[in-house]
């Protein structure tokens, strides 16, 4: 039960932050990416603001044995980069630029995003479904 309450507090705060910061507005996201247009630096303030509490949080994980619910803190990921990290990030960035939405803001704006918002979420879920066969295909090509 405790885990569920913590997750809900986190999700709610995340959604509130996305709305307040303007990140649910695709114009602000595309404005940031559009360096050669009417460039909008807001996203840098959002990312900078978001990193600050997390610097403290990661520091605290080194001082404590485990999280509040007793779950160990996530291990540092394998530093190996791999082709899927790069290919995936390029594909994600292309989609992010096309619509100005990434997964968090897409979900957060579900209640007012209309047909376009719901269509984006359904397509994103479809993309997540085909990700496994796509990954297998890429790995086959990379091994060849």
């Amino acid at each position: 039960m405790q885990r569920i309450v913590i997750a809900a507090v986190s999700g709610g705060l995340f959604g509130a932050g996305l709305l307040v910061s303007g990140m649910t507005d695709t114009n602000k996201v595309q404005g940031w990416l559009d360096v050669f247009g009417a460039w909008d630096p807001t996203l840098a303030f959002v990312l900078g603001g978001a990193i600050m509490p997390m610097l403290l949080a990661w520091h605290l994980t080194t001082k404590r044995a485990a999280s509040l619910v007793g779950e160990p803190f996530p291990a540092k990921p394998d530093p190996k980069l791999g082709h899927n990290l790069v290919i995936g990030s390029v594909l994600f960035g292309a989609g992010w630029g096309l619509a100005g939405l990434c997964p968090g803001p897409a979900i957060a704006s579900l209640s007012w995003g209309g047909t376009g918002g719901i269509t984006f979420i359904l397509a994103m879920i479809g993309g997540m479904v085909i990700a496994q066969p796509v990954r297998a295909q890429i790995d086959r090509l990379a091994a060849a």
Binding site: V35, G113, M128
Partner: protein, 143 residues
């Protein structure tokens, strides 16, 4: 000159970071939106389905409840071109699962941990997004 939007961006950003801190220090997990959804979609995270659903439900409900606080109409201003929306959604879905993260997981949680993977992912998705703006807005004029 500091614009109001930048200050709201900073305040909202601090809230996003606080949300990630609550998830990390509370549940011992990295707050990545694509991972939380993706684990339900491909069933890899079914053992923790309840906290994923709780996170996503609050992510939808809390901003919905806040809408009356805004004096102007809140809009996503998403393009009416549904072909572009579908293509974008597919790319975001495939890409975030291949890369194991998006703006929240790699960007917010990864960079703050000085994770090389998070930093490299962020550089590539920012570059790709910028190139897409040049191609599809300035050259082709479709977005």
């Amino acid at each position: 000159m500091i614009e109001t939007d930048w200050i709201w961006g900073l305040i909202g950003g601090l809230m996003i970071g606080a949300a990630a801190a609550v998830y990390l220090l509370g549940n011992g997990r990295v707050m990545g939106a694509s991972g939380i959804i993706g684990g339900l979609v491909d069933r890899s995270g079914l053992s923790t389905w309840a906290e994923r659903v709780a996170f996503l439900a609050a992510l939808v409900v809390v901003p919905a409840l806040m809408l009356p606080l805004f004096s102007t109409e809140v809009s996503t201003n998403i393009t009416p071109n549904l072909a572009v929306v579908v293509a974008a959604g597919l790319l975001v879905g495939v890409g975030t699962r291949l890369a194991n993260g998006c703006t929240s997981g790699h960007g917010v949680c990864g960079i703050s941990r000085f994770s090389l993977r998070g930093i490299v992912a962020t550089v590539f998705y920012l570059l790709a997004g910028g190139i897409v703006m040049v191609l599809f807005r300035h050259l082709l004029g479709v977005i």
